[in-house]
Structures are given as structure tokens and as C-alpha cells.
């Protein structure tokens, strides 16, 4: 896991001096991140390509306190073991990403967010689900330690069976 480009399959190019992009929270605070990191979000990458990123990229859904926490987490959290087949990665993205869960029964379980192909290139508030969305790059990973006993998990699954696959 590469802390700079925030992916598991870094090709080392992120080690170069990165151009910085400003992310602007809803209360107008600016946070500088590397363009590489910011481009993991398809939405932001589109904006960069469209030349809209010059003044900073607004994130109207995210306050500065939250954004600071997210970026702090992204910057400091290193990867651990390669996720096994049963678990998936958790990411948090800016406005325009969609979170997907791949549940694992045991061990650390995390959420995945994938950038969604917004209906318009600039997706100001959340996403619009389109047909044929594809998974994009991830931004950061979170871990949640499962403090349930296996029998508890079974019980809860039964309780909410209407939401689970058979």
C-alpha cells in the first residue's frame, strides 16, 4: 500500500514531486493534497482534466473538521497485510463517490467506496446511480475490528435476514 498515491498497486511514479491540488471544504477551508491522491476519485480527476481544479475543488458536502480527519487518516494510515478473498477494502471518498460493502465474516471488515460515473461530469451532491457503473480506484482504507462472537453474528444475520443473500 502506497501512502502517496493511496493504492495497492502503486507504480512508483507517485514518489516524484507531486503537483498539489486544493480541496475546499464546505466552510471554505483549503486542504492541499497531491494531485495523484486526489485523482483517485474519478470525479476529481474529471475536474482536473476539465481545468476546473485551478481554484481548488469544492467539496460542498464535507466540512473542514471532517475533511481534516479524513486526510489525516489517509496520510498516516499504512497498509497491513494484503486483504484476503473474504475481506475487502474500505475507502472514503469525496462527494461523488459511492460506498460499497463487501462483508467478511471473520477478521477485519471494511467498506469500499468506488467513484461513481456521475451522470454529469460534475456531481455536486452525491451520486446518481447509472447502469453499468464500473469500479474505480480506492482512496484510503479503514479497518473495523469485529468484536462480535460468531454466534452473535449469526443471530444478527437471522434478525436481518431480509437484507442478506441466502
Amino acid at each position: 500500500f502506497c501512502e502517496i498515491c493511496l493504492t495497492n498497486n502503486c507504480d512508483g511514479s507517485a514518489g516524484k514531486i507531486a503537483t498539489m491540488i486544493a480541496l475546499v471544504s464546505s466552510d471554505n477551508e483549503r486542504f492541499e493534497v497531491s494531485e495523484e491522491a486526489a485523482s483517485q476519485s474519478q470525479t476529481i480527476r474529471n475536474m482536473i482534466e476539465d481545468g476546473c481544479a485551478d481554484g481548488g475543488i469544492p467539496l460542498p458536502n464535507v466540512t473542514s473538521s471532517v475533511l481534516a480527519k479524513v486526510l489525516e487518516y489517509c496520510n498516516k494510515h499504512a497498509a497491513t497485510t494484503t486483504p484476503d478473498a473474504a475481506s475487502t477494502e474500505a475507502v472514503i471518498g469525496s462527494a461523488g463517490t459511492r460506498a460499497v460493502l463487501g462483508p467478511a465474516r471473520h477478521g477485519p471488515v471494511v467498506l469500499r467506496a468506488v467513484p461513481c460515473r456521475a451522470a454529469g461530469r460534475r456531481c455536486p451532491e452525491g451520486c446518481r446511480l447509472d447502469e453499468g457503473q464500473d469500479a474505480g480506484a480506492d482512496q484510503a482504507t479503514f479497518k473495523i475490528e469485529n468484536d462480535f462472537r460468531p454466534e452473535d453474528v449469526e443471530k444478527i444475520r437471522k434478525e436481518n435476514a431480509w437484507a442478506f443473500e441466502e
Binding site: 471532517v66 459511492r98 460499497v100 460493502l101 446511480l129 479497518k143 475490528e145 469485529n146 462472537r149 444475520r157
Partner: protein
């Protein structure tokens, strides 16, 4: 650090460690509740519920997810109708009235037509439940066999700011949005909008309105014209409606508007004669050519304050031509996009007339005999200062033309506008910029 299964509430004489653990609420759990609720709201609803098995802290969090996204369009967990019904029944019960910011219901899609009666009969209830949870954004996208009719009751919500409806029938008092005083953005696509009692549909608070591929009418079965009042509208898209063209009352705050009159517009010459001015058929006559004809401007007067306009029409539809008889002054208009409807067959009278009523126009784009959105060729040329008519805006320097190929018809338009120094770019792959010089409108 902590063996799995050991609750943080476990006081076994290790207070110090517990205090340490509480401060160390790690990773995602360190984020404020509001953020976690937002994240859960980004998930498809069934996946949000499944977070209940992640950890103790997550057992009930899904119940306060900030958004609900229900997709049953083919292939998803919720695609089968019985699964969807069962899921929704349980979900709404478990959530109770927990507030929502956004609710999206997408039922049916490219590969799946919603037919199940059990689902169809509950959609309205689910929709209203979301309204009752103070949703700010509501999206209802239905693909059903026939159409789904929403209940004839107005929505009441001071939280609702954005409403998007696709593929539903909306009757009567539903169109009364006076009980949604903060509704700013409204979109109807592929809907049937039937105003029962009065011909006036009033959208008092609206800033943005999009009506695409809809049928707007007054009563069932009557041939009628709806009148729309949206006095605070900033942007308007009226695309390919079915039936009579609606009348738009004045919109003084309008910044941009896009009107596309397509083949299903009922205001057309019954002889399919594109030359309205020479046609004496009854349908052309009725709309104001004679002194006894009504002289209400249907569209152009209402649009006259816009800064940016796109006006496209199918040839035999006479609304624009008729409205041009009382062409308003477009005193704010800087950006104008027209199609060949304005150029043929009237020897450019329409084009000349509208250019004379756009005193501060800066940008003119002509889409000629090409449907778009991609156009094979794009030309850009300058309007000659010496030769231009004095009535045309002095700020108009360049004209863009989008077409399939440069033929006689295109050349005629370019000559009429005294366009020279044309640059041409050809799609798709290699963008060759052929720089052409010369005072005649020859692009080669």
C-alpha cells in the same frame, strides 16, 4: 490490542486500558456520527443494512443512514419483486421516522420492466414515507409497463429542495407545489403531467426546471394548452415534449434556457408545411396570422430575459415562427444557439429578425442539419465588420457552425452572415485544423 469478542465495556480491573481504548477509537469509528451516517447513505440500502454485523458499534447504525438508495433495475439483490417488498417493509419499520437527506428509488431499468402489482401499489407509500422523513432530495425513477400514477395529493414538505421524477403519471393537485416552499429544483422526464382543474401550473419557489419527453396537458382527452408560471426560474430545459406547447409566463431571473421542439409537438402545420408564412391551412391560420387570431406569445416572451438560449425545432412546428411575429427584445442575451429551423426555408428572415432583437449578443452557434450531440464538422468564422448589418449586435464577432458537411446550404448561411476567415475542425479522431483564408465563405 484487544482480543476479538472483548467488549469495550468490559471492566475487568483494567480501567486504564479501557480509557486508553476509548480514546483510541480507531479509524472509521473516530469519525463523527454525521459522517458515518453520510457514508452509510452512499451505500445501496441492502449493503448499508449489512453493516450490522461489522462490530457492535455498527449494529444499529444503518437505521440512521442519511440516504436511502433502492435500486431494483435488474441484477441487484433487490431486483426480484418479492425481495424488494420484504426488504422495504422491514426497512421502513426499522427506520421509523429517522430523518433522511436523500431518497432514491430506482425501479425497473433497461433490462427489467416493473410489473409486479405488489410493488407498484406500494411505490407511492414508500415515496411519501421518504417525504415524511424530511428528505431534501427525492428521486423516483420508474420503468413500468404502462405508467405508474402517483397519488393525486400535493406533497407537503418544507425540507424538500430537489425532486426528480422519471416515468410516472402525475395528476391534478400533485402539481401544486405551494406546500413545498423550498423546492428549488424540479425535473420530470418521460412523465405524463395532467393538470385537472386549472390551466395554470404554478411553481413559485422553483429555480431550476427540466421537463423532458413529457406530456403536459389540461384534462384527460382535451386538446389544451397549459400555462406555466415560474417567476423565479433561473434555468429551464424544455425538451421534446408531447402535445401542445406550454405557455411560459415571464421569467425575469432566467439565466439560461434550452427549448427543443421535437416531432411530438402538436403545434404543427397540418400540411407539414415548413413555410408557415406562406401556408394558409387552418392550423397555421389559427395561431395568429389573421387579426382574429390570438396573439399571445407562447415561449419567446417568457424567455426574453435569458442570458443564454438554445432554440431548436422540428421543421413543420410553427411555435417559434409564430412567436417571432411579436419578437421580444432579448436585452440580456449573450449566447444564442439555433438550428436550421431558423435558416430555412424563409430566406433567413427568422435569423435576421432574431439577430436584430439581440443587441448584446456575443456568441452565436448554428447547428445546421445535424442532430448532435456530436457533430462531424465544426466551423468557426468571423463576422465581417464592414459588411455586417448595423442592426446586428456589435459584440458578435464569431459564429460557430456545427454540421455534417459543408454543402450549398451551409455556404448560403455563411454568406448571409458575412462570415469569413473560417477555421474548420473535423471530428472524430484527428483534429485537423484547416486554416482557411479568403473573404468568400469558402471553407476549402
Amino acid at each position: 490490542l484487544t482480543p476479538p469478542g472483548c467488549s469495550t465495556k468490559c471492566f475487568r480491573g483494567r480501567k486504564e486500558r479501557n480509557v486508553q481504548k476509548q480514546h483510541e477509537a480507531s479509524g472509521i469509528d473516530a469519525l463523527p456520527d454525521g459522517v458515518l451516517e453520510h457514508i452509510l447513505g452512499l451505500l445501496p440500502a441492502e449493503e448499508a443494512v449489512r453493516t450490522c454485523v461489522l462490530a457492535r458499534r455498527w449494529r444499529h447504525r444503518w437505521k440512521t443512514a442519511a440516504a436511502l438508495r433502492i435500486v431494483s433495475a435488474g441484477g441487484e439483490f433487490l431486483a426480484p419483486a418479492d425481495k424488494l417488498r420484504e426488504f422495504m417493509d422491514h426497512l421502513l419499520l426499522a427506520r421509523g421516522g429517522a430523518p433522511l437527506e436523500l431518497c432514491e428509488l430506482r425501479l425497473g431499468g433497461l433490462n427489467l420492466v416493473l410489473e409486479d402489482e405488489g410493488v407498484l401499489s406500494r411505490v407511492d407509500h414508500w415515496f411519501r414515507h421518504a417525504v415524511g422523513c424530511n428528505a431534501q432530495v427525492l428521486r423516483l425513477r420508474i420503468r413500468a409497463n404502462g405508467s405508474l400514477e402517483l397519488e393525486d395529493l400535493p406533497l407537503v414538505s418544507k425540507h424538500l429542495t430537489r425532486l426528480e421524477l422519471y416515468g410516472v403519471d402525475v395528476h391534478g393537485s400533485f402539481l401544486n407545489f405551494s406546500t413545498c416552499p423550498n423546492l428549488q429544483y424540479l425535473e420530470f422526464e418521460d412523465c405524463d403531467l395532467i393538470s385537472e382543474s386549472t390551466s395554470l401550473i404554478s411553481f413559485q419557489s422553483l429555480k431550476h426546471l427540466r421537463i423532458a419527453f413529457c406530456h403536459l396537458r389540461l384534462h384527460m382527452g382535451f386538446d389544451s394548452r397549459v400555462r406555466i408560471s415560474a417567476p423565479h426560474l433561473v434555468s429551464l430545459v424544455l425538451e421534446e415534449f408531447i402535445g401542445r406547447t406550454p405557455i411560459f409566463e415571464s421569467m425575469p431571473s432566467l439565466t439560461e434556457a434550452s427549448v427543443t421542439i421535437g416531432d411530438f409537438c402538436a403545434d404543427e402545420c397540418e400540411l407539414s408545411n415548413a413555410n408557415y408564412w406562406d401556408c394558409s391551412c387552418e392550423s397555421c391560420d389559427t395561431y395568429g396570422k389573421t387579426p382574429s387570431g390570438s396573439n399571445i406569445s407562447v415561449l419567446l416572451e417568457g424567455l426574453s430575459k435569458a442570458k443564454s438560449l438554445l432554440l431548436i425545432s422540428s421543421p413543420a412546428k410553427h411555435i417559434f415562427k409564430r412567436d417571432m411575429r411579436w419578437c421580444p427584445m432579448f436585452s440580456n442575451l449573450k449566447n444564442l444557439w439555433l438550428d436550421d429551423y431558423w435558416c430555412v426555408p424563409d430566406d433567413f428572415n427568422m435569423l435576421a429578425c432574431i439577430l436584430e432583437h439581440t443587441p448584446i449578443l456575443e456568441k452565436l452557434t448554428l447547428q445546421l442539419f445535424s442532430e448532435g450531440p456530436e457533430h462531424k464538422m465544426e466551423l468557426e468564422g468571423r463576422v465581417s465588420l464592414a459588411e455586417r448589418s448595423a442592426a446586428i449586435s456589435k459584440y458578435l464577432n464569431t459564429v460557430k457552425v456545427k454540421c455534417k458537411m459543408v454543402d450549398e446550404r451551409i455556404v448560403k448561411v455563411l454568406r448571409f452572415l458575412h462570415v469569413s476567415d473560417i477555421c474548420c475542425s473535423i471530428l472524430p479522431d484527428v483534429r485537423e485544423i484547416l486554416s482557411c483564408c479568403g473573404s468568400t465563405a469558402s471553407p476549402r
